[in-house]
């Protein structure tokens, strides 16, 4: 079955993500939620706007979910990433992983979030309490690099 992996304009529902991966063969479910927080790099944030190269981002999310299920045998994975304007404490990304054993669930969850940050074309613009807003650049260099294996 193709794993759940999608961009989402409505609020992410953690319960439905957990339900999407649960099954009687899985002894462990791990849910990771990324949440908009009030401070980033010492600046007071009032909200975040997420945008994406939507068709490519949706495909990358789906590729990551399928790669995770292949890499971490017997896992079931669901990923949702929010787009649009988010307020403080709203969930920007939800990753659910179920596995018969907990150790693999932890490893798979961690792998997915790192992979998502590494290759999914999504951007965020932070709105600050002082009225400014700015595109977030985690590289600090204005440019991303991706590893050779994702290059065509």
């Amino acid at each position: 079955m193709t794993p759940v992996a999608r961009l989402h304009r409505d609020p992410i529902d953690p319960t439905s993500l957990v339900r999407a991966v649960s099954g009687a063969s899985h002894g462990a479910v791990l849910l990771f939620l990324g949440v908009v927080r009030e401070m980033n790099d010492g600046r007071e944030v009032s909200g975040i706007e997420y945008s994406a190269y939507e068709p490519m981002a949706a495909r990358e999310l789906s590729d990551i979910a399928q790669a995770a299920e292949a890499r971490f045998t017997s896992s079931t994975v669901a990923i949702e990433h929010r787009l649009g304007a988010l307020a403080l404490e709203e969930v920007s990304v939800g990753i659910a992983v179920a596995h018969p054993h907990r150790a693999v669930a932890y490893d798979a969850s961690r792998w997915i979030i790192e992979e998502l940050k590494r290759r999914v074309p999504i951007w965020k613009r932070e709105q600050y309490v002082d009225g400014h807003r700015e595109w977030v650049d985690p590289t600090g260099r204005g440019t991303s690099t991706v590893e050779p294996e994702v290059l065509t």
């Binding site: 190269y53 074309p121 999504i122 965020k124 991303s144 065509t152």
Partner: protein, 80 residues
């Protein structure tokens, strides 16, 4: 031949547009798109070698282009 160039986020802000059409010789590569981009107003705010995707797959400077390709110039990723 003609390709579509897509810009996003900070790069779209810098160039003042989210897409344009570009005419290129038939043996053009990703590097030719970036060379054209660098001549446009606002391009000084782009890095020397931005990440590029062709038809929604990450590509190299040397990747050959074909008619109607979609060439996306990708700012620093910030998902999660």
């Amino acid at each position: 031949m003609s390709v579509t160039v897509l810009l996003f986020a900070s790069y779209a802000d810098a160039l003042g547009t989210t897409s344009f059409s570009l005419d290129l010789p038939t043996d053009a590569t990703v590097a030719d798109v970036l060379a054209d981009l660098r001549l446009r107003p606002g391009a000084d705010r782009l890095p020397p070698a931005p990440l590029v995707a062709v038809n929604q797959q990450y590509a190299r400077l040397t990747t050959r282009l074909h008619a109607d390709d979609e060439v996306a110039v990708i700012p620093p990723l910030a998902g999660g």
